[in-house]
Symmetry: C2
Subunit: 375 residues, 2 copies
């Protein structure tokens, strides 16, 4: 508390990110990082930029990176121009700018009651009115809950992740299109942090970028922190109609001329050019996800169908809290949100390397048999 703060700062409830422990030797399955290191070509591209040129400002427009992203999605047949791409210092910055730039409206923003918990933090920061829309009984997003018949519910915008976090459940593109056909007067943002794990592997098959040239009110955000294994750098992007990108640029140019540094720009360009590494990485994660899902199922866990690089899972007998604590004592960190009530017993477990996933199963076997003997 300080009398020098702007009034609203007293009421902020900041986001709490997953723990980034400083100890080594932990099995870290709590923040959905990629199990593999980034593409060797990315590493090479960064090393090639670490020299005296760091004295110079980066390109404020990150043009090369925008072009590489446009080329990548145009290669998938979506016809994306550079002027339809926005980049930021991680997708959280991109989201912050778009909340400010688009969602300060006279009607409430709609998003799921169980979703990325940063959304309500942005609403607090920019004093945006919002209304949570409950997930359905199977913890899925139901498009009909955003509609009243074939009309949209009154809203100043709609945002949700696809696949949703922390559930991992995917909404098919046809359902997103149904929403866009009904909701034409306000912005719809699809936050695709995890879309590349939805399959078909690395082919962009599930991305709503396929729709942006038909719906001028659709904006799609992505990150290089997950499927491109660059959480340690900070690169996020948005793709949509040029007028939406113009709006984001106006915010960005009123906030920070140079959000991406020279090394991040070089890394991002290389990441979008190494299709082979990208596809193999996504495939490995998906295969391990299926393996882990099966193993957990054999041990009394029920997991939601996941299209992401994590499983959202609960045990038929043991509480989420006791499982998270028990794993932690064995050096394995998973994410346990604890609230709201409906997800209190769920754990969100990142798909790790085969060795890490194996270690998780061994630790769970140990825990469960210990509790069985104690009970």
């Amino acid at each position: 508390m300080s009398k020098y703060w702007s009034d609203f700062v007293h009421h902020l409830e900041p986001y709490v990110p997953g723990e980034q422990p400083k100890m080594d030797k932990l099995v870290k399955l709590n923040t959905n990082e990629h199990p593999l290191g980034p593409s060797p070509k990315v590493i090479e591209a960064i090393r090639g930029e670490v020299d005296d040129r760091l004295r110079l400002y980066p390109d404020p427009d990150s043009s090369q990176l925008k072009q590489a992203i446009a080329d990548y999605y145009s290669g998938l047949g979506y016809g994306i121009k550079r002027s339809q791409v926005f980049v930021g210092n991680g997708s959280d910055e991109v989201l912050a700018h778009l909340f400010m730039g688009f969602f300060k409206q006279h009607q409430p923003l709609l998003f799921p009651d169980i979703t990325y918990s940063f959304y309500k933090v942005y609403c607090g920061l920019y004093q945006i009115d919002y209304q949570p829309v409950p997930l359905d009984d199977a913890l899925g997003i139901a498009v009909d809950d955003y509609l009243e018949g074939d009309k949209p519910r009154a809203n100043g915008g709609i945002i949700f992740p696809n696949p949703n976090a922390p559930t991992g459940k995917l909404l098919p593109l046809s359902e997103i299109e149904r929403l866009l056909q009904a909701n034409t007067q306000t912005l719809v943002v699809i936050d695709e942090a995890y879309i590349d794990f939805a399959g078909p592997q690395g082919q962009g098959g599930a991305t709503a970028i396929a729709l942006v040239n038909r719906y001028p009110n659709l904006l799609v955000t992505q990150t290089l922190s997950k499927s491109r294994s660059l959480a340690g750098l900070r690169i996020g992007l948005a793709i949509g109609d040029g007028a939406l990108i113009d709006g984001l640029n106006r915010i960005k140019d009123s906030f920070n001329s140079y959000p991406l540094d020279r090394l991040a720009i070089a890394a991002g360009v290389a990441a979008f050019k190494d299709q082979e590494w990208f596809e193999k990485g996504c495939e490995q994660v998906i295969m391990q996800r299926e393996w882990l899902n099966e193993q957990l199922g054999q041990r009394g866990f029920e997991s939601l169908p996941s299209a992401a690089n994590f499983l959202f899972t609960r045990h038929e007998q043991h509480s989420g809290l006791s499982l998270a604590q028990g794993l932690r004592e064995q050096g394995i960190i998973v994410r346990h949100f604890g609230k709201p009530e409906r997800i209190a017993d769920y754990l969100r477990i990142t798909i790790g390397t085969p060795e890490q996933n194996q270690a998780l199963i061994v630790a769970l076997d140990g825990l469960i048999s210990k509790w069985k003997n104690a009970g």
Copy 2:
């Protein structure tokens, strides 16, 4: 223009940064970058981090960097704790957060009429009322213009750079302290992007960080883009009372958990540890500034006394516009703002390498003699 924008976006007037030309072989003296590349120890530190660990998120608190900064200033005798340090993705991000976090008040923010032009952009972004305070006749900041007798003028905060930009003029610490003694009820921010060029060389002699432990309403910002030659990364900082830093953290944690990437953190730590490179770099810039000032003076230029890594200068006969254009035709880029009227004929010329500064003088000689012969 788009109907999907928040209303205020239509009225934004974004900042226009100095050009970052994509051509090589230009003598680039327009954005105040350091003439030398960064410390070799910084280069080494970055290279040591470019590996598989980039798959992992950075430390959201950037603790090691904060500690290195606190240690550096404590080593100068200022007793700065880690909890008194805030870091961001360039000092522009730090400034944006502090405008939002501190300057949304019921009285107008005060800053000089001729100063860093991003200030009024932030006011537009966050809808902050402000009142420009004219520089005095010698284009200096006069503390008395922020006071009414020994009372402060009504204000919701005060901010100015020291040395001021684009004038380069330094306000002595005693004058800043006089302002702080009168103005105790609102925040005072001293934006020290260029302070390290004020001398005594690299000793921190002129920084208001010396005062933060005595004035809880004083916040000092700095950047690693100038005196530490890291414009190509994006690292800025603020130092002040813990309660001010808490306020900034609340904004940051409501905006982006991880503003600094792993490579920037490593680079920043190494930069604050290499005192020898830092002092030599500042000394070279200061020596070249004095040389250039003298050379310009011999050619009919009048420069303001500069404590920064640039000169703000005008010619007795030739307009700023014609000089900037004439230099550009010879491949030398300097910054010409053109407005307001009082500075229409001034050029802001970054201190380059000895070779660049020499090339500038040769080009000016050519231009002036060409115009003389033509006239």
